[in-house]
């Protein structure tokens, strides 16, 4: 299968604001249930273990006309909750039997309660995670939260979710994470062969497809991309740091690339790459999920860094490990966590002589000209600097 064919499929899934693929999956069997989740991380393994389909709800992008959603929010609040409400009140999320709101900011937190009031028939859970990474303290708390989640999901599924069910699902998701790691490694090696707009669309497809299908898609894409000849351009290599809860318009990613920057690392849809390593298949699966969260998960603006000296270290390492030449900070407008985090990360960049630029975007940003200009200037300046 060609990359074009695969990406076309992903693009169609991405463009479909009615989630037809999910509706079709559900319609195939009347007992099937769908659990939606918002950014940035939920343990999809437990949903999958209950025979249900986890579906990423990532806002409405730049093609959804938001009317009712705007009625619920003041102008100084970001876009993703408005478009998500618009999707809800226009019936586009009627297939959702449960919706998880991860603990990432006050806006998404409050949206969980709004959803309870607006959609009382849906299982709504605010998914809290520990900001304390001690096994006995934050770990215990998190294990119990996961157990509560598990029992809530059992109610939706109408069946028990056993440890073995979870282990089997962990294995499938380990595979998914492995493939995505491979995809990212492939892009680091040969970014001209895996444009970031394609990588992004592949990840988005994973938000609506069953994971088994997504795994096959990733395998196919990697094979096709590997064998395909594409022209290498004289681009610089950058890390894109966006604390992406609200998603960037696809045009933003394309614009950065067109402006002469290869994106060699990013934090799009962190749920895919939240955990660094495979989760062990033996032992207590819930405890394993918890341990992976505490000791082997990524940093992002919504997560506390207990050691001030380590603030921003992960980004410095990403630049180094991926042979990047600079960082582009692209925060969603009105995103408190991302925008408050940015000065600290920027400081770490300065300390390590890593060039960076910053701008804001919204999921429905229409104009890309300023972004093309900034990214283009950045790319040029990096080249000049490295030539000198």
């Amino acid at each position: 299968m060609s990359t074009t064919k695969i990406i076309n499929r992903c693009q169609a899934l991405f463009d479909d604001l009615d989630f037809t693929a999910v509706g079709d999956w559900k319609a195939a069997d009347s007992t099937r249930k769908v659990i939606g989740f918002m950014p940035v991380y939920v343990p999809r393994e437990i949903i999958h273990a209950g025979g249900m389909l986890p579906v990423g709800i990532l806002g409405g992008g730049d093609q959804l006309e938001v009317i009712h959603g705007d009625a619920y929010y003041q102008s100084y609040i970001c876009r993703i909750p408005r478009s998500t409400i618009e999707l809800g009140v226009t019936g586009r999320l009627d297939f959702v039997d449960g919706l998880l709101f991860p603990s990432i900011c006050d806006v998404i937190r409050n949206l969980s309660g709004m959803w309870k009031l607006m959609f009382p028939d849906v299982y709504v859970r605010y998914f809290d995670v520990p900001q304390n990474y001690d096994d006995e303290i934050g770990g215990n708390y998190y294990v119990n939260e996961l157990q509560e989640l598990r029992s809530g999901l059992e109610n939706v599924a109408g069946r028990a979710i056993t440890d073995d069910d979870i282990r089997r699902s962990v294995a499938v998701y380990n595979e998914n994470r492995r493939l995505i790691r491979d995809l990212y490694a492939f892009r680091v090696r040969s970014p001209w062969k895996a444009p970031s707009s394609e990588v992004y669309l592949l990840l988005r497809a994973g938000m609506v497809l069953p994971v088994e299908e997504h795994n096959q898609m990733l395998v196919d894409y990697l094979a096709a991309a590997e064998s395909q000849d594409r022209a290498m351009r004289d681009n610089c290599r950058i890390v894109l740091q966006g604390s992406f809860c609200e998603q960037p318009p696809l045009n933003l990613i394309k614009s950065i690339e067109l402006a002469g920057c290869y994106i060699v690392d990013d934090d799009f849809m962190l749920v895919n790459r939240w955990l660094f390593d495979d989760i062990p298949l033996d032992g207590d699966p819930i405890a394993n999920l918890a341990a992976a969260f505490l000791h082997g998960s990524r940093e992002t603006a919504a997560k506390y860094q207990p050691d001030g000296a380590l603030k921003g270290k992960y980004l410095v390492e990403s630049v180094r490990d991926n042979a990047a030449e600079g960082v582009i900070f692209a925060a969603p407008s009105f995103c408190d966590p991302a925008l408050l985090d940015r000065p600290m990360l920027a400081k770490a960049m300065t300390k390590h002589n890593i060039p960076y630029i910053s701008f804001k975007y919204a999921e429905n940003s229409g104009q890309m000209q300023p972004i093309r200009e900034q990214a283009g200037t950045f790319a040029d300046s990096i080249k000049l600097w490295s030539d000198a």
Partner: protein
């Protein structure tokens, strides 16, 4: 005759409405708000009185709709008389400024030239008020100002004097004149106007004696202003006590109710703000929402767009109506509007398509304010300056149908008077209670 006055002091125009005891509209008047609310109030009320006298005249003469053309003609004549009166005032005011101290060398020449300018202005004024002549504005300042510039430049050049001298005289005088509304000559001007029509327009076939008698009786009716209510942004500056002030939300809701008693939802998009108002079957406001501190989607936004495109505000709608393609504009932020516009143009989008998208964007923004206030209930009344923009109305109708199905949408040609009508109705109610 007892009458009830409503005054709406808006940020750009001031409106006045007079009601009789049966709550029938006697007269409506409008003027620029200018810098001085007190004058604006006076002028608007005077205008309303003029239209009241005309209505009374119409009633006295027993004219139905067939009398419209006749009355229109008479109004023109009346306006002309009034214009001449103000022009004379302006002339005198300018002339007073020509002193020997100011113009030691050429006071006489300046005076002579000024007289010539005003002579020409008077001469050509009949054409300005001729039937069928297009006027961009009915406000004295607008007409007199633009003509003064043209004629002044010519005449000054002929006289070998600097045009700046006259422009300066004009600038110094116009505010003074504007703040001195024409006052006591209403009756004379009306009579002159009637005489003029009878003499020059035999096609109306009017019984001159009956008409003169009717006019005399209409002018003779004493108008007793029993109660006045003020509203609008400038309302705090009105020299009224609190009982005579109502918020523009309440007045707007009631005004729309009076115009269309089945109205339940009112949308007003003005220059400065957007209001969504829900009213009950008696016109009482049940809920209202206004745009938040962000001015996105107000009439002002269209002003920015017009500036950005180097067009007149009133040209935007007609151009947008020519759109053949849907262009989605996401930003109604006035700050970003220019950038988004240029970006779209750079991408090769057509101006009319972009404009149609912008109009839809404004309407979407208004829809979310309506949604915030409780949605749209039948019937729906649309008011404010943007209600005169056909592209905005078209977008509104479409969006309403998409979201609320079939709804009766009322747009009154006199919707600019909605707030003043509500205020006058409050005045009537205040006394009734």
């Amino acid at each position: 005759m007892k009458c009830f006055v409503g005054i709406d002091l808006g940020s750009t125009t001031t409106k006045a409405v007079l009601l009789d005891e049966e709550r029938r509209i006697l007269g409506e008047g409008i003027t620029n708000s200018q810098s001085n609310y007190a004058t604006a109030t006076k002028v608007a009320k005077l205008e309303a009185l003029i239209s009241t006298r005309l209505n009374l005249f119409r009633r006295a003469l027993g004219l139905g709709d067939e009398g419209d053309a006749f009355l229109d003609e008479m109004v023109l004549k009346f306006r002309h008389e009034q214009f001449l009166e103000q022009l004379e005032d302006l002339h005198q005011t300018c002339a007073k400024l020509i002193t020997a101290e100011r113009f030691p060398a050429n006071a006489a020449a300046v005076r002579e030239t000024l007289d010539a300018i005003f002579g020409r202005l008077r001469e050509e004024s009949a054409a300005i008020f001729a039937p069928g002549a297009a006027r961009r504005s009915d406000f004295f300042r607008d007409i007199a100002g633009s003509r003064f510039m043209r004629i002044g430049e010519e005449v000054a050049a002929e006289a070998g004097l600097s045009y700046d001298i006259f422009l300066n005289l004009y600038d110094k005088s116009i505010i003074e004149v504007e703040n001195r509304p024409p006052g006591d000559n209403l009756s004379t001007n009306f009579q002159r106007a009637l005489d003029g029509v009878i003499a020059n327009a035999p096609q109306f076939n009017i019984d001159a004696d009956a008409a003169k008698e009717s006019l005399a009786s209409a002018l003779g009716i004493e108008l007793e202003e029993v109660y006045t209510v003020g509203t609008g942004y400038g309302r705090v500056t009105l020299p009224f006590d609190k009982d005579h002030i109502r918020s523009e939300i309440l007045c707007h809701g009631l005004g729309a109710h009076v115009m269309y008693p089945e109205t339940r939802t009112v949308l007003d998009i003005g220059g400065q703000d957007t209001k969504a108002i829900q009213v009950d079957e008696a016109g009482i406001v049940e809920n209202f929402q206004m745009n938040d501190r962000c001015a996105a989607g107000c009439g002002r936004y269209l002003g920015y767009i017009a500036d950005e495109m180097n067009m007149g505000l009133h040209e935007l709608g007609p151009l947008a109506m020519k759109a053949t393609k849907n262009v989605r504009i996401n930003s109604t932020c006035t700050v970003f509007a220019g950038a988004e516009l240029r970006d779209r143009l750079a991408l090769g989008e057509q101006r009319e398509d972009i404009l149609a998208g912008l109009h839809r964007a404004i309407i979407l923004r208004a829809m979310s304010i309506i949604s915030r206030s409780g949605g749209i209930k039948d019937q729906f009344t649309f008011t404010g300056g943007v209600a005169n923009n056909e592209a905005a109305v078209e977008a509104l109708k479409k969006v309403i149908e998409e979201n609320y199905g079939k709804v009766t949408i009322n747009i009154n040609p006199a919707s600019i008077y909605t707030g003043a009508l509500g205020a006058a109705t409050f005045a009537h109610r205040a006394l009734a209670n």
